[in-house]
Symmetry: C3
Subunit: 203 residues, 3 copies
């Protein structure tokens, strides 16, 4: 297992935890907690695979995604009262997670010889749509449409990755640089409480 | 038509009725009632087929699903003021329906040579995600995440079915035994008002 | 580019604008405005393609859909305070849009040799489900289930198109006649404030 796969699995686990935490806060029953956790972890990749026609979708073929998700959700349940204390580091993991998922999605698009804008879209979908499905299932307006530079960081990450790829930069370096781009944009956005302002409208 | 197909069609019809009833209670217009009824009936199977790559999805190839749904929805509309009296038997049909759909989904996974945990997931998705889509379209938190041993019964049913399948038990017997498992778990849960309690959380 | 493609692109643009307007009214951030606009424009066709197994979905293969959507959303943002004055003509465009999308969806079903009822369903899905996804993402009950003869116009349009197709009527004429059917039904419905009444229910 390379370090990239390790990061992919880490991203899956962190997303599963974040989904399980939202579901528990909403007082869903244990089954709901597992489903929401799982959907948050694999939802983005599932939608990407369906849009591309890569079926059966990835977690049906590589069940390790299922086991990582289940294991992470169990962790989230056991430590549900302590996770607020590690919230800050969780948020860092989560940001690394979206960085990784941005690369995976963008790279899948490149492998399918799709145009650059579609590759960036696939990266952003892979990174963010697990959270979108989570929020829809919990019946709230998806948080990425309302808060912070989240998807925007993925879009920039995807663009950086494609530029590095076209320049022929080594894979390792382009992975690290893309993840750093996403993480740094997010850290700055969180630190300075940056968010894209909604458009003003005259009533 | 074997008795299994008969039960499949019965399940489709009962799910269509349950969807139409929810939509009428929400005061949707007739078009909404038909769409929600139809989506409840075929939604689980549609999502299963999409995840697997079995397209065009089943109701596009076998239009009998469409006609059974439409016919059942018309029945639900005509008898909308009487259905509360037959609610109890409807609930039994519904439970038989999720039993059947659990088998169909689990068996589809086995036919695709997927691992056991994915087969159980497909059974549960087929049985419950029609209702999830219904609830999302009606803008409410999916009821299966909040109430009663519903999806849990499907998970147990799927596990029982796979064990019987691996033991080489005859098809007829394994069908009946799986459906009985789901029905009995549900009946006990409803009778004793069992539900999985949400996890306690310190605030 | 034939006049039909022109109308297809026009429909895409108008749907993108309508999605962006809803998102701005909901005070979503700019990213949300782009996503909702884009999803409204291509969502119906995307769901049609996924149900049929036509993947990668159309906007991944023909990026012109992406560029038309982005351009239209930028227009919607720039002129957001003026669009209420051109609301009437926008609504006419929108109606032409659903007419076109009804034809495209119905014709796709015919090309796949599916039965008539499925073709009509595909036409209606292509025309209306972009709006359904938009409303789900904005966390409200899809407006088409509640208001006006909207999907109903698509259903009639699809039926008219199939009849004309089976009669061997020339393509041009059947396109125009179908669009006129949809537009006229909608105009009458809007003018006389017609809507399908919800079913009465005794409490």
């Amino acid at each position: 297992m390379g370090y990239f796969e390790f990061l992919d699995y880490l991203g899956t686990g962190v997303f599963a935890i974040s989904g399980a935490l939202v579901a528990m806060r909403r007082r869903l029953d244990p089954f709901g907690v597992f489903i929401i956790g799982f959907v948050t972890a694999v939802g983005g990749g599932t939608i990407r695979d369906i849009l591309l026609g890569n079926q059966p979708v990835m977690w049906m073929q590589q069940t390790i995604y299922v086991f990582i998700s289940l294991f992470s959700i169990v962790l989230a349940i056991l430590f549900r009262n302590h996770l607020k204390y590690i919230n800050r580091s969780l948020s860092l993991f989560d940001t690394i997670g979206i960085g990784i998922f941005t690369i995976i999605g963008t790279k899948t698009g490149i492998n399918h010889h799709l145009s650059a804008i579609i590759c960036v879209a696939l990266g952003t979908i892979t990174a963010t749509f697990g959270g979108v499905v989570r929020d829809i299932l919990c019946s709230r307006v998806p948080i990425i449409f309302k808060k912070e530079i989240y998807a925007t960081a993925c879009i920039f990450g995807g663009i950086v990755f494609i530029i590095l790829y076209r320049l022929g930069v080594s894979t390792d370096f382009s992975y690290i640089f893309t993840i750093l781009t996403v993480v740094i944009i997010r850290l700055i956005a969180v630190k300075y409480k940056l968010s894209l302002p909604p458009f003003s409208q005259k009533e």
